[in-house]
């Protein structure tokens, strides 16, 4: 199935800002992290279809996964 992946800030380096990925059924965001060589500790915010997501939730055809690194300065 096709999943859209949106990447933000430094996660775009070497990956681009938006990608379409062909993945197996029952793929989770955690699988997407592995696919894109993103360490879970480099993910502060995960959204699925623009809403708060969980790394182990099952994705559906056409879902959009948005991944943000931690931003903590002040």
């Amino acid at each position: 199935m096709q999943i859209k992946v949106r990447l933000f800030a430094t996660l775009r380096e070497g990956r681009g800002k938006e990608r379409m990925e062909e993945v197996a059924d029952n793929t989770t965001p955690a699988h997407i992290f592995q696919l894109l060589d993103i360490s879970p500790k480099d993910v502060a915010i995960l959204l699925v279809n623009g809403m708060d997501g969980k790394p182990d939730q099952i994705l559906k055809e056409g879902d959009t996964v948005s991944i943000f690194p931690p931003v903590g300065g002040g």
Partner: protein, 226 residues
């Protein structure tokens, strides 16, 4: 109405403008975000401002921290904030607390405020601040910066989103690799102050249960729901 506050109107009504003089806002962190937040709150005429920071100014702060200049390197950020704000607006009362936020002092420092600004620079302190604001029932405006990027959201009493935005478990974020330029704290701080004014006056729409993501590198501004 004092002339100094006239240009707050009519985006604020006369009543709303005057009401700011009775309001209490705490700013936790007097560095990049905090300096700009404090400056703006004082100019707007927020009557009671708490400026908290346990740190002193360092040369590396000069590129972006509004309150830092060549003559106050090594001096307490909170005490310098007090001195500066008293010059900007002697009509507002400023309390400077020159120590770090801890579990022992958080509730005492924060109690009695109408809004709190998160201008901290590390996740554990931000979590403490959020928990304290929630237990006191005080609205909290969160802001964070890293290089070209920034985030702002407003947490009203009863809202909870710690887990959603701090998933990786890190103490700090990509600001450790990117640094921070002069414009990013100014931009994010300004949005935080706008949120504070809306909390205090009840006007407009807050960034509640949603986060504004700022990217000045590509000039992308997007709001995400939580």
């Amino acid at each position: 109405m004092e002339k100094r506050y006239l240009k707050n109107e009519q985006m604020l009504s006369r009543e709303e403008n005057l009401s700011l003089r009775e309001k209490r806002v705490a700013v936790i962190g007097c560095g990049g975000l905090g300096g700009h937040i404090l400056e703006q709150l004082a100019r707007l005429g927020i009557g009671y401002i708490t400026a908290m920071d346990g740190d002193v100014f360092d040369e590396t702060n000069l590129n972006r921290q509004l309150l830092c200049h060549t003559r106050n390197i090594g001096r307490s950020k909170a005490l310098e904030a007090l001195e500066h704000l008293q010059r900007v607006n002697p009509g507002v009362q400023v309390q400077a607390i020159d120590c770090l936020l801890t579990p022992e002092n958080a509730l005492t420092v924060l109690a009695g405020n109408d809004a709190i600004c998160d201008a901290l620079d590390n996740m554990p302190s931000r979590m403490l601040l959020q928990q304290s604001a929630q237990s006191l029932g005080i609205p909290l405006v969160y802001g964070a910066i890293a290089g070209w990027y920034g985030q702002v959201t407003t947490l009203m009493p009863g809202d909870s989103m710690l887990e959603s935005i701090f998933q990786g478990g890190n103490e700090r974020g990509i600001e450790t690799e990117l640094g921070n330029p002069a414009f990013t704290p100014a931009l994010v701080a300004s949005i935080q102050v706008a949120e504070v004014v809306k909390i205090l006056t009840g006007k407009g729409e807050l960034l509640r249960k949603r986060m504004l993501m700022i990217n000045t590198l590509d000039q992308e501004y997007e709001v995400f729901d939580f």
